[in-house]
Symmetry: C2
Subunit: 482 residues, 2 copies
């Protein structure tokens, strides 16, 4: 079987829609509300694995999970003025209960900074309680007027993991942002998702933040997608909500906060970045199934076929007993080829084929989903061979995704070169930049792309600023984004 990547990368959008639905991940565009999707059983299991993993990372670093109400009253949502300016055009409002008009308009949370700050002002009053790190995993709502996309740009974002932390000083908050970056780095690393971290420019920060740091990656079509952000909020929200704590010396101060989030987009990326014309390859760590066992019936006798079926069950049971999530596809109405098609669309990383030959020799033919290379192993070596191949697949997927990303982050000296590179091959282009916002904003216009920001550590550049020609301080990253 040839691995082709034609439809995958050349018509990524169509490929993605097909995989989401036919792979039974996510049903989009048919439910009668615009911009919302339905998590189907297989997709939900992938989502659950991702959620359990982020919980593990957050719980083990002292974060406490909570759950705040969905509804935020208008008065509360509008207290931080920068914040509401950033969100006011995209808030859904509930105005009626039964047939009655509500006395106050309440919003469906677009994010929860004001709600958590309100509760924190009731829960926390002393430096002794700090640092405090909360998080929740909830649906958030944005009345998107742009074109929506499944899992990527939605009116209901169903997997919004938002962390909110409180600290005595600005520096403590900044250190927390660094911890967040390190947790997210680990999260993406262990899911095989490569990324570039940028500080977002002043004109594109989270509404209400002093600093916004973002993780971006490149999709198969060359477009860039934001997959995680961390914000230093300073005292903006604590001042707006008059939330004070007592310092050690007895004086009162407004504490500093951070917030950081990831969303459904992580799952969109997991489904997208490893794949081919057959479908996606889901990274083994979070793939709902690691192995699908497919029996190959005998062409000659019913009796041998029955023995093959029994052998397939034995193989599947051995995998389950070893704690390897697997399924045995015994459907008598489907040919092996039809079964391959189905499980490839779900991105199951390994296939175990067992036919009359394997039955006779007490062997199993293991086939990798990513390369379609196969390996014949003895039944007695099954578990170790499967584990070894899953590790190898993980390593290779990670390597090729990283390589793809690196090939799509390029330096160009001029805005025109950047523009032509982006229009021909997408990705992220780094340009020399003097550090002035005005030059950054001009770049967005000239390149006709979005400024992602600049690296956390200034990068030495010899060329002059791509806009004004003055000495460059660092690089500015631009890209076409989702």
């Amino acid at each position: 079987m040839k691995v082709t990547r034609d439809k995958w990368s050349k018509n990524f959008s169509e490929w993605f829609d097909k995989v989401l639905y036919e792979g039974e991940f996510y049903d989009y565009g048919r439910y009668p509300v615009k911009g919302v999707g339905v998590w189907m059983p297989y997709g939900f299991r992938l989502r659950r694995n991702v959620i359990y993993f982020i919980r593990e990372l957050l719980d083990s670093t002292g974060h406490e999970e909570i759950l705040l109400p969905l509804l935020i009253p208008q008065e509360l949502l509008t207290r931080e003025t920068q914040h509401i300016k950033g969100f006011e055009s995209e808030v859904f409002w509930v105005t009626k209960g039964g047939s009655q008009d509500l006395d106050v308009k309440v919003s469906l949370r677009p994010t929860s900074e004001v709600a958590i700050t309100y509760m924190e002002s009731l829960w926390l009053n002393s430096y002794k309680q700090l640092p405090k790190k909360y998080y929740q995993i909830v649906s958030v709502f944005r009345y998107e007027t742009k074109a929506t996309r499944p899992m990527i740009r939605l009116r209901e974002i169903t997997t919004f993991k938002e962390a909110h932390t409180v600290h005595e000083t600005y520096d403590d908050a900044q250190r927390q942002v660094e911890e967040a970056i390190s947790i997210y780095s680990k999260f993406f690393d262990e899911l095989g998702i490569p990324y570039v971290i940028s500080e977002r420019p002043e004109w594109d920060r989270f509404a209400g933040a002093l600093h916004t740091f973002a993780f971006d990656t490149v999709m198969p079509d060359g477009k860039v997608i934001q997959i995680g952000t961390a914000h230093n909020l300073g005292q903006n929200f604590t001042k707006a909500l008059d939330f004070k704590i007592q310092r050690k010396d007895g004086s009162l101060c407004y504490p500093n906060q951070t917030s950081y989030g990831i969303s459904d987009r992580v799952i969109a990326v997991l489904i997208s970045i490893n794949g081919d014309d057959h479908g996606p390859v889901i990274f083994p760590k979070v793939s709902p199934l690691k192995v699908v066992v497919v029996p190959i019936p005998s062409k000659d006798t019913e009796e041998v076929t029955e023995k093959v079926m029994a052998y397939a069950k034995k193989v599947g049971n051995a995998l389950s007993e070893a704690g390897i999530e697997s399924v045995i596809d015994l459907d008598p109405e489907k040919t092996p080829g039809e079964k391959y098609y189905i499980w490839e669309l779900k991105g199951v990383p390994l296939r175990a084929e067992v036919g009359p030959k394997e039955l006779n020799n007490n062997t199993v033919l293991l086939k990798r989903r990513d390369t379609f290379q196969s390996k014949l192993v003895q039944f007695s070596d099954l578990i170790s061979a499967v584990n070894e191949m899953l590790n190898l697949i993980s390593k290779d997927l990670k390597y090729s995704a990283q390589k793809y990303l690196e090939e799509h982050v390029k330096y160009e000296r001029s805005a025109q070169e950047a523009k032509s590179r982006i229009s021909s091959s997408g990705g992220i282009v780094e340009l020399p930049w003097c550090g002035d916002n005005s030059c950054g904003m001009k770049l967005e216009e000239i390149v006709d792309a979005r400024v992602l920001g600049y690296p956390l550590k200034e990068k030495e550049v010899k060329d002059p600023c791509a806009v004004c020609g003055k000495t460059a301080k660092t690089v500015l990253r631009v890209a076409k984004t989702y």
Copy 2:
């Protein structure tokens, strides 16, 4: 320490509010939207344990978890006429996005029968795909105009586990309702929650159901609370949404459905049914912490105190290594008594006290939260002793909760006797009943209580119907309910 139950049972409502907040389970009544609460970290961990357990039960019985959108458009919600009649006065409506009026009113789901039936009509078309069992765990919204109560009667119910199943025939659906009842029975049994199962009377079924079965239990104040329901929906929703499947013979039919749900109320009950003036006793299986280790400082020397602290850590670490969730309370600013107070309010089932005496003898004093009985054990026996005591606590809690329930389900011959029993000691009263709805509805008026329904198997009764005096067919259960 004396175990008193004065405030607990006599002023249950005040006790409950205090425990929820001071035990850091749930913050209620302070967030600026009526009828919604905030899950605090400790309560969230309890909730998470309960959710993981119900997931385990549902996954292992072939249920598939999905996630449907929160928003249901008016046109869809109103398709099943009985259903919308039951809910229309309590639906929240979203009418605005940003500053624009939406073209169609969308509701915050009060429950998801119509939404899932809509998706099922796209996903399922053949008897071969049946039975199909879906579930989701989501927030649902009810615009309650009655007085709201934390975790019990809310405008945002944050832990609504709703299962939805599809079957070819009515009988298959009825068998599924029986499976649901058996799963819920196991769920409540393993959480130590006793229950009575009734079929709800015709006039109090779930809106759109042919049959509704419910689990009820009695709270410490004698009031009855519904903690789970299962509905046979027949073809009501499949007909309303024109959802057909192909039978084996090629003909088309409207499939039959069931739905069954449990909510936040399970957690309210877990916190309520075992307790005393010190707070709740959380059933060990789902208690976020099983043991709190409290060091008792030496009255004489700092040096001994330091050794005690080290010994407490050793005890806590041994528990953690054995997989027993525990915490070591080393706070130097609090006395042991203050610590006891805090952890009792959280209902941690066991306390391990270690002071200079225990340090010298290499022992640990284990104290049961429910009886305050203590047992001195050797450090070498710690793990087995803790496990044994946790088992014993579970058994005793279950026994006493069951006993309490049985004492509060009583038979009375007449409506007047029922009324006086309910007003004096609450609980459920069973009355002889002829089977006529009109008599049932009259009973509600005379007893001034709600009819819960009748037992699944008809109960033989010698006395005549408490209303009309004709021969009774079974008993009808009445109670004051939450």
